[in-house]
C-alpha cells in the first residue's frame, strides 16, 4: 500500500487532481476520501490477515462444532454487525457533506456565469454584460460564483476537480454548482461525460484573479472587437468575411455572427486554442487554420489549406490582433 501513497503523493501537485483541493467543498470531499481510504485499508488488512491465517493453519484440523460456532461468530460479527455500524458512520458523514456540494441556494452567490457545452468546446457568458468567451472562465477570487451548466447538443459534464464536484449538462435541464475559490490561480477542468469524437480534447481553464483585475478583464471582454488599423490585419478581416468564417464564428462589432463555433471577439487575449488542445501562438494558430483535423480529429471546423498561405497569415495577424 506504500505504492498507493507514493503515487498519490507525487500526484498531489498535478493540476487536475482530486487530492489537491482548493475550495471548501473539494476539501470536504478530500477528507471523506482519506477517511474511507484509511477504513478500507484496515478492512482489507483484516481479510488478508484471515487468508494468511488460513495458510498458516492449513495443516491443523479443528473439531467441526467448535469450527462452526467460531465461524458463525466471525461471520455475523464481521459480516453483519460491524458493517451496519461502520456504514452508519460513513452514511452520516455522507449526509453531512452532501449539502456542501449541492447547488447554491437561490441568492447566495454574487456572480453568475453561464457555461454551455457544445460538441467539443465551452461557451462562457457573463449575464448582465455582453462578455462572451470560450474555454477560459475568469472568476474573482474569494467570491461565491454560481456556474449555470447547460448544453447545446449532447450531454457533457463540467468538472474542475480542485474546485468542486462535477455537474452534468443535460438537454432541457439547468444544473448549477458553486465555485468560491479563495486562492488566485489557474485550475484545469475537462469534460467528463462521453460526448463523441472530440471528448478527449474538450478541456477548459478556470482563471481566478483578484476582484479588481477580474473587473478590468470583464469590462474589456464586454467591449466589441476593435477594427484593425490597416496592413495585414485589415486584409485578414476581409479574408475572414470572404472565406465564410463568419458563418460559424461571431466577432462582436463586426457582421460575423455565426453560432456553430466559439466567439472570437477577444481570441487574441486567450492563452490556448481549441479547448486547451494547443497554445495560442501565431505558429499554432496558423497550423490550426490550415489543418484542424490534425489536432482535433472530428472537429466541426474544415481545413483551409486551399487558401493561399498569405491569406492564412493575414487571418492569423487579424485574429491575434483581437486582444
Amino acid at each position: 500500500m506504500a505504492c498507493v501513497l507514493g503515487m498519490l503523493a507525487t500526484g498531489c501537485g498535478s493540476d487536475q487532481s482530486i487530492t489537491s483541493p482548493v475550495t471548501e467543498p473539494a476539501r470536504e470531499i478530500d477528507t471523506l476520501w482519506w477517511a474511507m481510504f484509511a477504513g478500507g485499508m484496515v478492512i482489507f488488512g483484516i481479510v488478508l490477515g484471515l487468508l494468511v491465517l488460513a495458510y498458516v493453519r492449513r495443516r491443523r484440523s479443528s473439531d467441526p462444532d467448535r469450527a462452526e460456532r467460531v465461524s458463525y461468530a466471525v461471520i455475523l460479527g464481521g459480516g453483519m454487525v460491524a458493517p451496519v455500524v461502520l456504514l452508519a458512520v460513513l452514511f452520516a458523514f455522507v449526509i453531512r457533506v452532501m449539502p456542501a456540494v449541492s447547488a447554491p441556494e437561490p441568492g447566495s452567490t454574487s456572480l453568475t456565469v453561464e457555461v454551455t457545452g457544445h460538441q467539443w468546446y465551452w461557451e462562457v457568458r457573463y449575464p448582465g454584460t455582453d462578455a462572451v468567451t470560450a474555454n477560459e472562465i475568469h472568476l474573482p477570487a474569494g467570491t461565491p460564483v454560481r456556474i449555470v451548466a447547460r448544453t447545446a447538443d449532447v450531454i457533457h459534464s463540467f468538472w474542475v476537480p480542485r474546485l468542486n464536484r462535477k455537474i452534468d449538462m443535460i438537454p432541457g435541464r439547468t444544473n448549477s454548482i458553486e465555485l468560491d475559490v479563495p486562492k488566485v490561480g489557474t485550475y484545469r477542468g475537462q469534460c467528463s461525460e462521453f460526448c463523441g469524437l472530440g471528448h478527449a480534447e474538450m478541456a477548459f481553464e478556470v482563471i481566478v484573479q483578484p476582484p479588481a483585475a477580474f473587473r478590468r478583464w470583464l469590462d474589456h471582454e464586454a467591449q466589441p472587437a476593435e477594427t484593425p488599423a490597416g496592413g495585414a490585419a485589415a486584409a485578414g478581416q476581409e479574408e475572414f468575411q470572404s472565406a465564410s468564417c463568419e458563418d460559424c464564428h461571431t466577432i462582436r462589432g463586426t457582421p460575423a455572427d455565426g453560432k456553430v463555433g466559439p466567439d472570437l471577439t477577444h481570441i487574441g487575449s486567450r492563452r490556448t486554442l481549441a479547448a486547451l488542445t494547443i497554445p495560442n501562438t501565431p505558429g499554432d494558430l496558423y497550423q490550426w487554420i490550415t489543418n484542424p483535423q490534425g489536432w482535433k480529429p472530428g472537429s466541426r471546423m474544415p481545413g483551409f489549406a486551399s487558401l493561399p498561405a498569405s491569406a492564412r497569415r493575414a487571418l492569423v495577424s487579424y485574429l491575434e490582433g483581437l486582444r
Binding site: G40, F44, L50, S71, G79, M98, P171, E193, G196, P297
Partner: protein, 635 residues
C-alpha cells in the same frame, strides 16, 4: 467410490440408457443437440472466441493510450473499439461463459437431473446468443460499430448525433441477446424448482445452484427494462418517436434510469455465478462444508434483490435532488453486508478447514483479494459526494475491472481448472496451473491498479488520447505493459488447458474429492448423466457414501433408472419429494432454425425492411407450432 464394473442386469440397463440417449454424430449432432453438456461446450467455445475479440480490442486501446498524444488509432476507431470492448466482454463473454457454459453444464448435474427442464429452449438460447453476437460483430467488420459507449447515452445515441447504423446494431443485437438470456433464466428457474433429485429440499441444494437461482431472478426482472429502453431508442431513431427529445416532452434521463435499472442488476448477474463457483471450490479443497451455509445462500439472493434498488448511483452527477439520491446511496452501502457475509464465510471456511492450495483454490484466494479491494472502492463510490468527483474517471474503470475481472473472471478461470477433469476426463498440469495463476494475478494488478491513481488525478473515461504533464503518463504506460503481460498469462493458461485436454493424465470421477453430485458421475459424464436418479440427504451428497452405495444397489433392482425414453424425475419445489416422472423432448433441428430466422428477422428490421421482417416473424411462429409436433413420448 469409483464406478466398478456393474453386474449383468445393471449392464443391460446401462446399454439401454446409452442407446436411448445416444446423440447423432458429427455436425448435425451439434446443430440439433439439446444435451445441456454439449450446449454448455458450445457456449464455452463461443464465449472464449468473443473473449479473444474483446481482449484484442482492449490491447488496441491500451496501445493507443500507452503514451500521451499518441496517434496510433484515431478517435472514430477508438470510440468503436471502446464500445465493442464493453459490449463484448459483458454480453458475449462473461455472462454466456458463467451462465451458458458453467450454469448449463453444472446445474443439472448438481441437482441430480438428466437435463434442463426445457432442453430445446436451452438450445434456442445458445443459437440466439450466437446470432446476436454475429449480428453485432458484423457492424465491426463493416467499420460501423456502435461508438457511443456500452451505456449509449442519449442524445449522443439519437439519430441526430449518431446517424449511422452502429447504434441500431447495438440496440437490436442486445434485444436479441436479451431474449436469449431471458429464455435461459426461465429455463434455470424451472429446472432448479422442479428437477431436483428426490430428497433435495431447499436446505440441501448446492450453493452454486443458489447463485444461479439468484442470477436467473435478476435476469428475469432486469432484462425487460433494457428491452423497453432499446425499443424506445429504436422507435426514436427509426420512426421519429419523442421518448428522449426534450423539445417534445421527452427526457434524456429516462434512458439513463431505464438503462441502469437493468445495468446494475446486470453487474450482479456477472458476479453472482462467480460467487457460486467460489462456494463450490472452497469446500472441496478445505475438506469441510461451507461455514454458515444458510447465510451464504441468502447472501447471494440478497445481493440480487437489493441490486434492483441501487441504480441511481450511476447518475449521482446528473443534478438529481439530494433526497432522491439518498435512497440509492443507502441501498448501495447496505448491499455491502451480503458481500461481507460471504467474504467472511469463505475466509472462515478456509481458516477452520484444512485448505490445500491447488490451482482452483489459488484463483479463489486471488478472487477474494480482488473482490474485497474492488468492493471497498465500490463503497467509496456509494458515498455520493466522492462519487460526484470520480464518476466517469479511470477510478471507476479501475473499480469495475477489479470487480468484473478480479471478482467474476478469476473464479471462472478457477472453475475452468476445477471442472476440467470432469469435462475432459483428464487432469491439467498442476505446476503450470499455479504458474498461470501468479502470471494472471500479477498482470491484473499491473494493468488495473494504476488506473486508480490516474482516475484520482482527474483522467476522464473514454478519452482516445490525453495531454502529458498532468501526471497520467506513468500510470497509463504501466497499464499498457500490464495488459500485454496479462494477455501473455492468459495464453499460457489456455495452452495449459488445450495440451492437458489431449495429453493430461486420466482423471477418475472425483479427483479432488468434491462434495456435489456432479462428482458422482464418470468423467466425462454420459449423455444421461446418472444411470440411477440419486437420493439426497444432505447439501454435499457426494460425501454421503451410504447414499451413493444405495444408488448402486438400486441400479440392480432398476428403481429410478427410468429407461423407457428421455425420462427424468420431478419433485416438489420446496421439500423435494418425488412427484412424477417427466418425459423430455430429444434433439431437434427447430432451435437452430428458429435461431437463424430470428437473427435474420432482426437484421431485416435493422435495414428497415419491415415487410420481410414480418415474414420472418410469421416463419418463426410456424417453427414454434412445429416445435413439439411429435409430443414427447407419453407414458
Amino acid at each position: 467410490m469409483a464406478v466398478e464394473s456393474p453386474a449383468p442386469a445393471a449392464a443391460a440397463r446401462i446399454d439401454r440408457l446409452e442407446r436411448i440417449w445416444a446423440e447423432r454424430p458429427g455436425l448435425t449432432g451439434w446443430l440439433t443437440t439439446t444435451d445441456h453438456k454439449r450446449i454448455a461446450l458450445l457456449y464455452l467455445a463461443t464465449s472464449l472466441a468473443f473473449f479473444a475479440a474483446g481482449g484484442a480490442e482492449a490491447l488496441a486501446m491500451r496501445t493507443q493510450l500507452a503514451q500521451p498524444n499518441e496517434r496510433v488509432i484515431g478517435p472514430a476507431t477508438y470510440d468503436q473499439l471502446m464500445t465493442m470492448h464493453g459490449v463484448t466482454m459483458i454480453f458475449f463473454f462473461v455472462i454466456p461463459l458463467s451462465i451458458g457454459a458453467f450454469g448449463n453444464y453444472l446445474v443439472p448435474l448438481m441437482i441430480g437431473a438428466r437435463d434442463m427442464a426445457f432442453p430445446r429452449m436451452n438450445a434456442l438460447s445458445y443459437w440466439l446468443f450466437l446470432g446476436s453476437g454475429l449480428l453485432v460483430y458484423t457492424s465491426l467488420l463493416l467499420g460501423m460499430a456502435p461508438d457511443a459507449g456500452w451505456f449509449d447515452y442519449v442524445p449522443l445515441a439519437s439519430r441526430r448525433f449518431s446517424p449511422g447504423l452502429g447504434i441500431d446494431f447495438y440496440a437490436l443485437g442486445l434485444i436479441l441477446n436479451g431474449v436469449s438470456s431471458s429464455a435461459a433464466a426461465a429455463n434455470f428457474l424451472v429446472t432448479i424448482a422442479k428437477l431436483r433429485a428426490p430428497g433435495m429440499s431447499l436446505n440441501r441444494m448446492p450453493l452454486f445452484c443458489y447463485a444461479i437461482l439468484a442470477t436467473s431472478f435478476s435476469l428475469i426482472f432486469a432484462l425487460p427494462p433494457l428491452t423497453a429502453d432499446l425499443v424506445f431508442l429504436e422507435l426514436d431513431r427509426k420512426l421519429g418517436f419523442k421518448f428522449f427529445d426534450v423539445a417534445h416532452g421527452g427526457d434524456p434521463l429516462l434512458w439513463q434510469h431505464l438503462f441502469w435499472i437493468f445495468g446494475h442488476p446486470e453487474v450482479y448477474i456477472i458476479v453472482l455465478p462467480a460467487f457460486g463457483i467460489a462456494t463450490s471450490i472452497i469446500p472441496t479443497f478445505t475438506r469441510r462444508m461451507m461455514a454458515a451455509f444458510p447465510l451464504v445462500a441468502v447472501a447471494e439472493l440478497l445481493v440480487a434483490f437489493i441490486g434492483f434498488g441501487v441504480w441511481v448511483h450511476h447518475m449521482f452527477a446528473t443534478g438529481l435532488p439530494a433526497t432522491t439520491m439518498v435512497f440509492f446511496a443507502a441501498a448501495s452501502l447496505i448491499i455491502v453486508i451480503p458481500s461481507g457475509i460471504q467474504i467472511f464465510a469463505w475466509c472462515m471456511t478456509m481458516v477452520t478447514g484444512r485448505p490445500e492450495f491447488k490451482t482452483p483454490l489459488l484463483f479463489i484466494v486471488g478472487f477474494i483479494v480482488f473482490f474485497v479491494f474492488g468492493g471497498l472502492s465500490g463503497i467509496t463510490l456509494a458515498a455520493v459526494p466522492f462519487d460526484q468527483q470520480v464518476t466517469d474517471t479511470y477510478y471507476v474503470v479501475a473499480h469495475f475491472h477489479y470487480v468484473i475481472w478480479g471478482a467474476a473472471v478469476f473464479p471462472l478461470l478457477g472453475g475452468l481448472y476445477y471442472w476440467f477433469p470432469k469435462v475432459t476426463g483428464r487432469m491439467y498440469y498442476e505446476r503450470v496451473g499455479q504458474l498461470t495463476f501468479w502470471l494472471v494475478f500479477a498482470g491484473t494488478n499491473l494493468t488495473f491498479f494504476p488506473m486508480h491513481i490516474s482516475g484520482m488525478l482527474g483522467m476522464p473515461r473514454r478519452v482516445w488520447t490525453y495531454p502529458g504533464g498532468l501526471g497520467w503518463n506513468v500510470e497509463n504506460l504501466l497499464s499498457t505493459i500490464g495488459a500485454f503481460f496479462l494477455a501473455g498469462g492468459l495464453v499460457v493458461l489456455l495452452a495449459n488447458l488445450v495440451v492437458s485436454a489431449y495429453r493430461g493424465a486420466p482423471a477418475g470421477p472425483n479427483p479432488f474429492g468434491g462434495g456435489t453430485l456432479e462428482w458422482a458421475t464418470s468423467s466425462p459424464p454420459p449423455a444421461y448423466n446418472f444411470d440411477v436418479i440419486p437420493q439426497v440427504t444432505s447439501a454435499y451428497a457426494c460425501w454421503d457414501d451410504a447414499d451413493r452405495a444405495d444408488d448402486r444397489r438400486r441400479l440392480e433392482t432398476g428403481e429410478l433408472v427410468l429407461e423407457e425414453g428421455h425420462e427424468t424425475t420431478a419433485s416438489t419445489p420446496v421439500d423435494g419429494h418425488l412427484d412424477e416422472i417427466l418425459h423430455m423432448p430429444s434433439e431437434s433441428p427447430w432451435p437452430f432454425v428458429l435461431g437463424i430466422v430470428a437473427t435474420l428477422g432482426t437484421a431485416f428490421v435493422l435495414t428497415d425492411h419491415y415487410l420481410i421482417a414480418a415474414v420472418a416473424v410469421a416463419l418463426a411462429a410456424a417453427v414454434l407450432t412445429l416445435w413439439h409436433a411429435k409430443e414427447p413420448a407419453a407414458a
